[in-house]
Symmetry: C3
Subunit: 162 residues, 3 copies
């Protein structure tokens, strides 16, 4: 059990560092590199908490495979459909739920803060991510990333990935 605790703790640090890198990339707006954080067969979805808790499959975003993420990234880069803004993506309360190498199951809270020019910073979205992360050599990659957001009334289009 102490061995397990120490092992879980090291994995928590791995996951935190991976998520912090992921957040930093999105904050810098480097959307083109966003799919690089996922495995080729990754499933990425963003779903409202009430749907998730009712086991409704309806999600705001559903992407299966890195190709779909690359399409999405391409669309985001080439469609200027939103006003310029800064975002900050805060990750916290990371809990490692299971470790079955090379897979790690973890839950993390996220907070997306958004600042439009000449407006105060506001909480754009808050939620939790349920991640299955695959260790590939020295690297971690999302195998599954399911973001469940509390914020139903999102003040703007949810085009930005979390």
């Amino acid at each position: 059990m102490p061995a397990t605790r120490a092992a879980f703790r090291a994995v928590r640090a791995d996951v935190e560092e991976f998520l912090f890198e992921y957040a930093a990339l999105l904050e810098r707006g480097e959307i083109a590199r966003w799919p690089d954080f996922f495995t080729d067969d990754a499933v990425y979805q963003v779903v409202a908490r009430d749907n998730a808790e009712s086991n409704l499959p309806l999600g705001l975003i559903y992407a299966e495979g890195k190709g779909m993420l690359q399409d999405r990234a391409y669309a985001l880069i080439h469609t200027e459909m939103y006003a310029p803004r800064y975002i900050q993506l805060r990750m916290s309360n990371t809990r490692v739920i299971a470790v079955d190498e090379p897979y790690i199951t973890a839950e993390t809270s996220y907070l997306l803060l958004e600042t439009l020019i000449d407006e105060p910073t506001r909480v754009q979205q808050t939620g939790k991510s349920f991640d299955v992360i695959r260790r590939v050599g020295d690297q971690l990659l999302f195998k599954e990333r399911k973001c469940v957001y509390d914020t139903v009334l999102i003040n703007n289009c949810l085009v930005f990935p979390v």
Copy 2:
């Protein structure tokens, strides 16, 4: 001193993991299990920062002993006095102040985010917890938990534990 630093660091990780589990339970709304995070003789209180800094004993919530926490949990579960909402309880900036096994004294910042249906997510409450945590075997339990909140104007009844 380096030994102390390493020991403090391991304890910080213990405390963080304990607090993250505690937050996850409250976020899932499992109030019935909330008292299980406390020792039988625990003291739990929630007090405004201005009162706390004036050493005024007046608190919004004061519970002595696990029985009082169980009563409170029961009341919360069986009284539908608040509109449905989602909450997120973020823990951060955990600092271990003293370690005198089996007791750990620690301070942590918390942020309670609240989302009512069809409303944007808002900061419901922000504050710090001053905790005395008791190690019981592999487990941690609150011996004392004092939450000091900055937010005097709470937009709704503070029935939800933090």
Copy 3:
């Protein structure tokens, strides 16, 4: 590489603990001790993100040397130019960018929450700090601290250090 990862991880914990102490001091309002977190030749600046990304040198605050920080602290303590408020300074997503002992380069997200009496808590400012930290014996000190804030429309004077 694993050695590097373990070393980086220990440094991340060092930096987090240093930043949490720094935040706690500011939250308690102990401005007089604020300059003690900096080296004698430290450079401290607070700059808007759009300026920082355009490499414009214009900052809201620029202080070179501990003396200037002490002057600033003195002014803050002795000038009651702002309404009483509580602040909380949350540090998260700390990433160690480089370690070249005794210097550590790190990036951290910050969130300044502000509560005026009889008002709800609000996000006063959000941003990132780009820090060069110097290890001096057992202690860490800021050699450079550059805070880049997203929040251009700050609801009040930005007199409070971050």
